[in-house]
């Protein structure tokens, strides 16, 4: 029910967004160094209705790793798990509200559209232990990931107060999130300084030198 109403909302606002300006968000650390690959999303504090962000999120498995490492989607989006390797993966997430588990044969895809809850979905592969991927499900169409310059452009939403949230699975903060309120009627350029550390991101590589087979 709720997703249906959001869909309607997104459809209504689309022309507005199309012509609207972008809001530029810059995420830096306390040394003003750009933080890339940070999930940033805006959540309106006022009663602002926003149109549904109709897009398909692709969570690939390539070269025995999740590509991208972090994906973000609006609740209700369709997710395509695409196995680009020549080996079977067994993708699963055993905790939280969005538990799932399935195998994808080499070169095949699996579409999943039944995530019911917002929140973080930590994913692993039961065959390749080191593979690690995150899918953040948000309840807003205003989301994205910073580029290598820590920059993210989002279409300017209607003016009002928003909660700007920065998330990263290794962000050393409560719920791995940093919050900041912004008034979008005034600013179009937002810079967020993250004081919290980004913890070490474990590399999606086989820790053991498992060399006796090249294709596994």
């Amino acid at each position: 029910m709720r997703s249906l109403s959001l869909n309607i909302l997104i459809l209504c606002c689309l022309p507005y967004y199309a012509i609207a300006e972008n809001i530029n968000i810059n995420v830096v650390d306390n040394a003003n160094k750009a933080l890339p690959d940070m999930v940033v999303y805006l959540q309106p504090e006022d009663d602002i209705s926003l149109p549904f962000n109709e897009q398909i999120v692709e969570v690939g498995q390539f070269d025995r790793s999740f590509t991208p490492y972090i994906s973000v989607m609006q609740l209700g989006n369709k997710v395509i798990f695409k196995n680009k390797d020549d080996i079977t993966h067994h993708i699963y997430s055993p905790i939280g509200d969005n538990k799932f588990s399935f195998k994808i044969n080499a070169g095949e895809s699996q579409i999943k559209r039944d995530f019911q809850q917002t929140g973080e979905v930590a994913m692993g592969c039961n065959i390749h232990d080191w593979m690690s991927g995150y899918l953040l499900i948000v309840d807003t169409p205003l989301f994205g990931k910073t580029n290598e310059n820590g920059m993210l452009d989002l279409p300017m939403p209607p003016a009002g107060k928003y909660q700007l949230i920065v998330w990263h699975p290794q962000l050393d903060a409560t719920n791995n999130r940093v919050y900041q309120s912004i008034d979008l009627s005034e600013q179009k350029q937002v810079t967020i300084k993250i004081d919290n550390k980004i913890l070490k991101i474990s590399e999606q590589k086989n820790q053991e030198d498992f060399d006796f087979l090249s294709d596994y």
Binding site: F66, S93, I95, G96, A122, S132, Y134, Q170
Partner: protein, 772 residues
Amino acid sequence: MKSLQTKIFLFFVLLLLLVQAIALWTIVEGNKSQERQEITNRLSTAKTIFNAQFNSRRDYLTAFAETAAKDYGIKQVFEDELRSLLVAMNNHRKRIDADLAMAISAKGMVTAQLVLGKNQAGESKVKQGSEREQAFRFPHWLESQEQSHLYVLGDSVYQISLSPMNVGAKTIGWLAFGFEINQELAQHFLDITQLHTDFAIKVGDEWRLIASSNATAQLDFTKQVVNGETPNDYIAIGHLVDEAGQLQLALAMYGLRADIVAVLQEQWWQFLILTFITLLLSLSVAYIIAASITKPVKQLVKQAKIVASGDYHQTVNVNDSSELGQLANEFNAMQSAVLSREKAITHRANHDPLTDLPNRSVLKTALQNLAERKQAFTVFHLNLSRLKDVNETLGHDVGDWLIKAAALRLSTLDEFQLLCHIGADEFVLLAEINEHSSSELLVSRIHQVLEDNCEYQGINLQLQVRIGIASVPEHCHDTKSVLQMADTALHHSHKVSQLVQVYHQGLDVNSVERLNLINDLKDAIIDDQLELHFQPKLDLSTGIVTHVEALVRWRHPTLGMVPPDNFIHIAEQTGQINALTHWVFINSLKQYKAWCEVGLNISVAVNISAENLKSPDFYEFICQSVDKHQVPADKVTLEVTESAVVDDPEAAIAILQQFKDRGMRISIDDYGTGYSSLAQLKQLPVHELKIDKSFVQRLCEDEDDRIIVRSTIELAHNMGLSVVAEGIEDEFALNWLAKNKCELAQGYFISRPKPAKELTTWLLEKKVYAFE
């Protein structure tokens, strides 16, 4: 007694004891250090084993926890219902028989806990722990890299390992598995190390004993060991496992020292017994060695004693090639050397070195043997004449050679039982007396072998001997005396210039009787035992007796008449000669006066001794006596032997000169037997010479004597001296002397010496001699 054997044995004993002591000490020390080493090794090994096992458990737990945390099955049910999670966890727990299994959520809550405990029946039973739904007490462990920890739960302590459960890089929780540190573990260590193991923990400040293999374990004891102390009678090692300062697990491993060293102790006893046996054996061997070394030494000692006692004929036999055997051989060699040397010494002691003939000591022994056998025998004492001359003129070598020649010739005589060389030129021959031999025959044999002259480098040497002879039992009975007698006889033969003299009592001026005479002589003068005899001197020109010679006689109360030769010599030697001469002189003067009274005018001659001349008041006495008795000095003749003047010619000449000056007549007695030095005669203030009777006695048959006497008379006359001849025993001599102008004659042919009374009668009756 400290014999050599004892010494050697003692030495061995000490040496062996020392060696054994050193060995014992070494082994004791070795054992001690071995024991220490063994204990140290054992303890450190036990500690190492503990650490290894403890770490191995830890690593095992860690590996297992990691494996379990990756299990997809458990991940799937991790957030699901509790029962599924508990079953899954228990399945894992059973695989390693862990005592504790825990699941901790990402939020740090203990979501599931399984504890292996025991029910009342003692069976192992798994039940849920008490900490479910509680926050994990050590949240910092979750962040830590360190996965292994000590975990206290209730009364139990666990060794646990935590492992995160990841989904990719996302940690969704932790799994922990643990082994309890319990009595079973302690027992396990006891089994491996043979050491009791106590476990204690320190929570806060309080120590708690949690497990032990020892049923009677005490916390205090454990703490003591952990603090590094070793309780008495124990070996022990302590160890602390720190748990990040919060918790300390202490380990004490220990055992009774006695149990550990029991094996060593047993070896000890064996060793001591072995040592004792070895010592006994080696002491026995030492005793045998000592005995075997000293046995030959003892033999040598015994032999030395035998040799010392004078027995040289036993040899010592040591069957031993060692130094002792050599010593025994040397000993035997020495013994024979000593024997031969002793023989040589004995030979030298009994033989003359020059002639190698038996010497005086052999002679004595031989005499003794003869005396013991009561064998009659004769001793011939020989003296080589003129050896002194040979020595002086030709040297002692020739003298010795001559003695040897004589010895050689004498030794060819087999009529004698023994030939001895008893002095430089003296030999003694012994002959047993039997009916076939006589002294005369034997003497002639002696002379016979010595008859031929010896030729020494072209010089003819005559071997002439004088012989003194004495016999047992003819002359005496003891062997000592017979030698003395032979010697006396020999001596006498010198005096009388004879070649052979058989002993007779008259010769013996040194007899025991003579000693008695010495004492008796004093009394003789006082007791009037002396008598004066007078021998007339015939005036050959007138044929009447004009002179007499006074001769003293001693009528001994017990010995009878003693010849003057015997006692005058004694008187001279004992200082009584003056008294004697005085007596003779006074009585001669008295007799002169007596004769004067009967109308006889007879000059009196008195013999004067050399001793008289030495007496300082002799001259005074003579003069006073002459004056006193009113005798004309020229009626007194003093007869002095030539030898009396020899000792001190100047003094003698002086006193004689005095007498001459006084008017008395001086006569040289025994002229021709002494030196008859014409030089001295020239000096002597004398009136007459008295030719010795030896020249006169044989005037009849001996042409030489006639020449001598005639020459002497002529010589005397030429020197203004008158001549007296004594020893006239036949008419020829008397006539011959008268014809040759000899002034006075004296002798048996005229008259023997007679007592004054008898002579007075003879003088008064005597006709005048008429000469042819």
